[in-house]
């Protein structure tokens, strides 16, 4: 199934998700800031996962690993949007 969910946090977050029992692919868009850019890596980290706390932690670790800063949304917001999209 394919679904699109929009969440208004400090900045806007949209996820377009293709999923069955797990997330098959996701596109994360919005007017948030992420620097240095590691959005493709974040999207890849969601593939094959289910939207739960562990995924949020995985995204958080990836951001730290990349020495990146995410502003306007959080990894937990991404997981929340994915959870809503896959319910």
């Amino acid at each position: 199934m394919r679904r699109s969910i929009v969440l208004k946090k400090e900045k806007l977050l949209r996820v377009d998700v293709d999923y069955d029992s797990v997330i098959r692919s996701v596109r994360i868009t919005g007017d948030f800031f992420l620097s240095p850019n590691c959005i493709v890596e974040l999207e890849a980290a969601c593939t094959g996962a289910v939207p739960n706390t562990a995924l949020g932690e995985k995204l958080n670790r990836l951001i730290i690993q990349k020495s990146a800063t995410l502003i306007g949304i959080t990894p937990a917001d991404i997981v929340e949007a994915l959870r809503m999209a896959t319910q």
């Binding site: 929009v6 596109r27 868009t29 007017d31 948030f32 800031f33 240095p36 502003i71 306007g72």
Partner: protein, 245 residues
């Protein structure tokens, strides 16, 4: 810090974004000094934030009809109609600014805030990345940091046409479009509503404020920067870049 200042010039959106990226690369490589640009947009254009989905944000058909260029920035943030504004870009080693991104937005935005205050316009910084006058947005900025160098560019609205803006941008819910536009009109303001200022006066005020903190030396782009900007111009025009999200 000693800043090379590139005096105000107008370019297309593609060129403006290409120049910013070219300078960013050259500062990263140690080939160019920290740089301040002030610039305008000719023709009018829409830029979207790097992470935005273009199909959700911009009515591309309408932009085509009205000859409005559309491109994607390398910075995050939202969609902007660039028409009557002065844009700044500041490209410098990130260790010259606070490590905390929001604090660094504030430091740089304060140059514009103080410049506006010197013109008698009571502006204030509003986190994350805005400047407000009378609690309405007059300026928005976007920043990226790559390879130890910070690029922040931001707009200062000289005039604003919210109806035109939303004839070109896609509103979240078409059913409440009128209400949405009315609410944006209440939240956005331009300098025109706060006095009559020439572009030269505004530029002078911005430069005077920056000079309190940094040395400014007027300069120009190197041949290498120009050549690279010419190459990058093609990227900013390309469907591959603009439509990637």
């Amino acid at each position: 810090m000693n800043l090379r200042y590139i005096p105000y010039e107008q370019h297309s959106a593609f060129q403006n974004m290409a120049i910013d990226e070219s300078v960013l690369e050259h500062v990263q490589q140690g080939k160019s000094p920290p740089t301040l640009r002030l610039y305008g947009w000719k023709p009018a254009a829409i830029t979207i934030g790097f992470y935005q989905g273009i199909r959700y944000e911009v009515d591309l058909e309408k932009c085509k009809e009205q000859n409005i260029d559309v491109t994607r920035r390398i910075t995050g943030g939202g969609a902007v109609l660039h028409e009557h504004e002065i844009t700044y870009s500041l490209i410098a080693p990130q260790d010259q600014f606070p490590k905390d991104v929001i604090q660094s937005y504030e430091v740089i935005c304060q140059y514009v805030v103080k410049a506006l205050q010197s013109l008698g316009v009571q502006a204030r910084f509003h986190p994350i990345n805005d400047i407000l006058v009378d609690e309405k947005k007059i300026s928005g900025s976007a920043q990226t940091r790559e390879k130890g160098v910070l690029l922040q560019h931001g707009t200062l609205l000289l005039d604003v046409d919210v109806d035109k803006m939303f004839s070109l941008l896609i509103v979240p819910d078409e059913k409440i479009k009128d209400k949405f536009i009315q609410s944006v009109k209440k939240r956005v303001v331009s300098l025109k509503e706060h006095g009559t200022f020439t572009r030269e006066q505004i530029i002078k005020a911005i430069l005077s404020e920056i000079q309190v903190h940094h040395e400014i030396t007027p300069g120009e782009f190197s041949d290498e920067e120009r050549t690279r900007a010419h190459e990058l111009d093609k990227k900013y025009r390309s469907e591959e870049w603009v439509m990637q999200r």
